[in-house]
Structure formats: C-alpha cells, structure tokens
Symmetry: C2
DNA sequence: CATCGAAACGTTTGCGCAATCGTTTTTTCT
DNA sequence: AGAAAAAACGATTGCGCAAACGTTTCGATG
C-alpha cells in the first residue's frame, strides 16, 4: 500500500507538502501542486482515512442503529438518512439490533470503539442501558421513531395527530365501535398510539371498551390472532385500526381467513403507507409517515449536535398525511 | 478520551501488558489480568478501533454498495448481508449509488480510503470504471444481483430458471400471447430475463413478436406507459409478465387505469415476491428471489476471498421459488 | 548592501495501538 | 550451588497522517 511518504519521495518533496497539496491547507506553488498530483496519479496513491481520522480524532462516519431494518418503514428512513449523510460527505455504518436491548448496547459500544462522530438510533423496546451509555460516553445521538428520552434530540411522527386524523375519519363515517391492533410491547410508539386513540375517541364522545384494544403484538402472526379475537366478540367492531404496517398485514390476514369483505363487512385503516396501496384491493386508507423528512431531520440534528455538543435538545414531531382510499366505509 | 497508556499508568503496568490482556495475545498472570480489567472498567476505557486497524491493516469493515436501497428487493438483501456480517463480527458501510456510475466509482474509492476489508456491490447500469478500479486496487469484492463480470465472485438469482418457471406456468394455462415489461436499461438482469423469456417461449414452440417485448423501463411510470402500449395492440397479450417489482407496480397501475380485471380480463405474473401478496387482490403469482440466501452467500464469499485473495472465482446462481397465486388464469 | 519579512517549503512529533524485541525473576535440573 | 530454561512482564517502534514548528530563499526597503 502506498503512503504519503512514498508520494513525497517519488515527487522529491516533503510529506508536509504532499499533505498540504492534498488537503489544500496551505499555499504551495502551482508547479509543485502539479508535480504532486501527477505523482499521486502515477503511483496510484490512496489516502489512508484511518490514519487521518486517528490524527484528527474525527472520522466522518455515523452509526445508524435500527431496531429492524427489514421493516419497510425503517427502510425508507434508512434511505433518507443515507442520502442526507452522503450529501454531507458522511458515511453510514448500518446496524440492526433485532430489537434486542443487549445487542443494541453491544452495537453502540462497538460504534463507539470505531469512533463514529455520532449515532442515529431507533431504540429497542428497552433501550435504557444503551441510552445511559450514550450519555455517559457523551456521544452525539439522535433518536428516531420511538421517542422516549428527553436527554436526546429526537425526531418522529406526530402520533397524536396521526391517530386523530384516523379517528376523525372514522367518526365522519359514523363508526363507534372501533378495534385497534397494537404494535410491539414496550415501544413508545405503541403506547403513544394507544393513548392517542383513547383520547381522540373520548374527545368525540365515544367510549372505548377495553376488549376493543388488542394486546401488543410482536409480529404479523400475533396481529392475526388479535384481530380474530376482536372479530369474535359478541358485538364486533365495525372498523379495525392497525397501528403499523406489520399489524396491518396481520389484520388483513385474519379478515381474509374469515371471508370478510373490506369495506362492505368491515372497515380497515391504519398507519404506514404502502407504495402499492393504490393498485391492489382493498385499497387501504392509511397514514403516510413522513419518512423522508424524518431521515433528513435526524441527519440534520445529528450534524448540528456533532458541531456543538452543548446546544439545547430538540424534539421534532412531524406531521403525517392521511391518504383516504376505500378500505374504510360508512358504518353499518 | 482515555487511551491504553492511561490504563497502563493507572494500573501500574506496561502498555503491552494491557494490550495483551485485552487481546488475550499472551499469558498474563491472573492477578494482573484482574487488575487491568478492573482499571479498564474504573476509568471507562474504550479501545480505539482506528489505531488498532491502522496497526493491523485490517478494519473488520465491509462496504455494501447498492444501486438503489429504496428497492425492497435490495432491502431484503441488505438485511441478510448485515445479519451475516454481524454474526462474523464485521460491520457494514451502507452506500447508495442511485444507479449513477460516477457516484458508484466515488463510493468505491471512498470505501477504499477507509480501508474496508472488502466490498459487496450491486453494480449500476454501467459499472466498468468501478469494476476496473476494484481489480486495479486488488480489493476483495463480490457482485450481487447483476452479474456481469467474471473477474469477480458473483451471487444472484438464476434468472433463466425463474423465467422458465413463469413461462412453464403460462404455457400450462395455454397463454400464447405474452407481453413482458422489462426493467432498467443496461442491467444484466434485464438482458438475462429478456433473453431467457425469448428462449423459454421458443422452446415451447411459441413465437414472440417484438411488439410484445417492452422497451426497458427506468421506473414505475415508464412501466405503466409500456403496459398501456402493450394493451393497446390490435391483438393484445393475454398475459403480462412484469420482470421485477417496480415494473409490476407500473403494470398494475396501467391495468387498473384501463379498468381491466385480473385474471378475468388479463393475466399477470412476475418476478419479486411481496410480503402482502397473499392478502390483497389480485393475489399475484410471483417468483420469490432467494434474497436471504443471496445475502448470506455474498457475505460468505467475500469473507472467503478476504481470507484468500488468490482462490478461484465463483459465480453462484441460486434457484428462486414460484409462488402460484391467482393473478394468472387460463388464457381466453 | 545589509536587514527584514514574507513566501515556500521541510523536519518532526504524536494520534493510540500491536507486537517485536528485550529484561528480570522464578523454577528446574544436575 | 550453579547454570540453564521458563515464566512474566516492560520498553520501544512503526502503522500513515496532519500540522505545529522550523528553515531557507529571495525580493523589497531604507
């Protein structure tokens, strides 16, 4: 592997001249600049970013720690973050915690060893140890999606607004018995959406019996079971609200298994838009989370914090969009 | 930031003892081991992986250069690669070329500067410069999805088999006029699938007129237009084969815009399975690519190659799965 | 034509670590 | 008891780089 001193020797100049030419950190005469550049080209020199980072104690890297990268919602966020970071000359370490708090802590520590400039974290269900570590290490960090700790910058969807949009839509269509299929246990989003649901229904003068609120669901299979349970009630709901994309898949499965038609027999709506939702039946009425903006804002905030560790914390709640399609009809 | 010599000083031992304790690279007496470990804990020492990598000239990182991470197909592959690498103690730099060859080259060079141990690349439409660079730099690399260069290890779907499965299915259902909506121009997969389609049809004694083969399509909008064109033919196809997930969305859009029913008015099938395909209408008959296995194999191969740069190249074609659902019916 | 200052470049250090080379202490064997 | 071998650890170097510090050269000025 060629080094800066190999270039210096070949060009007959000092290492500092080469360094300064490459980094444009001080004036060097045009002839020497050309000489150095030609030599770099000739011997195929590629700077060693490790040595550079060691010296500068800054790596130009950030860690992206996601609780489940297979989830399309996170894919969109990852995509936006990568794009934004790339634009700023940063490069991203991608890690998947699989929602395991132990793994999460390990990954955070690992990234710290690698001296990332900062971390964007979608916290697991029990992120306390990781978060404490990040604070302790004074490592710049912004939380996305599941906002649970005011010691950090945070970016996510305004879940209260999202649920309210859905409930308003339901109310407009005269639904009074609405079942909600909740997401994973422990997640801030799950709790937020449940509470927002209760609150929004109450605001509209509708009582929510406990049996219309499912248990939390770890996966689509759980969500299917939960949906079946709601549909078996003596007085079943006229509409089902799936609180994320996984639960929606699960709910649709249950509905299909029972041979129910949407929206004729039951209305369905939920959170997390799908790209194909316009072209397949039932055409789902969904909340589209602003993934792009979440990703961009998260990267922005992180870069700000890296630049100034003592700036005040920010929590940003972005407004989602309700895409009304056809899966939620008038209540019977 | 604490260093190894700070630990040494605090513990009253030499830096080499600390290093050897941490890396278990030579015998150290149990008392000193405990002393060192306690001190590490006490002062909160975190090894600097940059310095370590600089010394060892190996980083434990790989670059994952994908042409479009927003594509769910690639999401699945990314997920599998991350999982496999994580299992092996490697960490992944994720980059998106956005199918831009210039960007692709830049990213490859950037990763080289960062001294990644190797790269997994989903090549853009015109990857020559990047590939030449990788060869020149002697950087371990495996290609995924678009296999186009025998100088590298490669892993992808057996597209010939995939198309043959679809064509066999079509033939069984007596389709003779089948239109194909092709993917992006320049991609190896696009060419492979087109040729395989021609070959498989011919094998079945079916002639394929040129007007049933769409132009290549850069995005869903293009695919929609192409589908409209096929459907406007004086003798339109009885079935549409969408050669990937993007073109499928585009094709379904066109079909919906014309008010056609699937499969009653037209049959549809294609490549790239969707998680929700079982629960929405029309239930698409699709080829499921073995994304998991592709990701795992790619990581495997890369690790092998990193271990031994002179081992023979391998090209692995993995068999996909046909999921027969209901979108492809009997020909009229 | 000395002097001074700026222009242009070179020498060297230290970032944090692994590991080579070396030293000291203890044990073993005759 | 003395020598040799083994056990346990320490001093130092070099990985490749940025930049602080130092040196040389040369033109301008009084």
């Amino acid at each position: 592997m060629t080094t800066i001193s190999a270039v210096a020797k070949a060009a007959g100049v000092s290492v500092s001249t080469v360094s300064h030419v490459l980094n444009k950190t001080r004036y060097v005469s045009p002839e020497k600049v050309k000489l150095v550049m030609d030599t770099v080209e000739a011997i195929g020199y590629i700077p060693n970013a490790l040595a550079r980072s060691l010296k500068l104690s800054s790596t130009g890297t950030i860690g992206l720690v996601i609780s489940a990268i297979s989830n399309p919602y996170f894919s969109d966020i990852i995509c936006a973050i990568e794009a934004e970071c790339s634009k700023r000359g940063l490069i991203v370490f991608l890690c998947d915690t699989q929602d395991d708090p132990d793994r999460e802590l390990e990954l955070v520590q690992h990234l710290h060893q690698r001296r990332v400039d900062g971390i964007i974290l979608a916290p697991s269900g029990d992120p306390k140890r990781s978060l404490d570590y990040l604070i302790e290490a004074d490592l710049p960090c912004v939380l996305v999606d599941r906002l649970s700790d005011s010691r950090f910058d945070q970016v996510g969807t305004d879940n209260v607004a999202a649920i309210r949009m859905l409930v308003d839509h339901l109310v407009t269509l005269h639904h009074k018995r609405v079942g909600i299929i909740l997401g994973q246990p422990g997640f801030a989003t799950t709790v937020e959406r449940m509470n927002a649901f209760r609150a929004a229904m109450t605001e509209n003068g509708i009582e929510v019996p406990d049996d219309l609120i499912s248990d939390s669901n770890n996966n689509t299979a759980d969500a299917t079971a939960s949906t079946h349970r709601l549909l078996e009630l003596t007085e079943p709901p006229t509409a089902i609200l799936a609180s994320n994309n996984l639960t929606m898949i699960g709910a649709m499965r249950a509905i299909r298994e029972r041979g129910l038609r949407v929206p004729e027999d039951i209305s369905v709506l939920g959170i997390d838009d799908f790209e194909w939702a316009d072209y397949f039946e039932p055409r789902l009425t969904l909340i589209a989370q602003p993934c792009d903006e979440i990703g961009r804002k998260a990267a922005d905030l992180l870069i700000e914090r890296i630049g100034n560790k003592r700036r005040p914390r920010e929590t940003i709640r972005l407004l989602p969009l309700l895409r009304v399609r056809e899966s939620c009809g008038e209540a019977a």
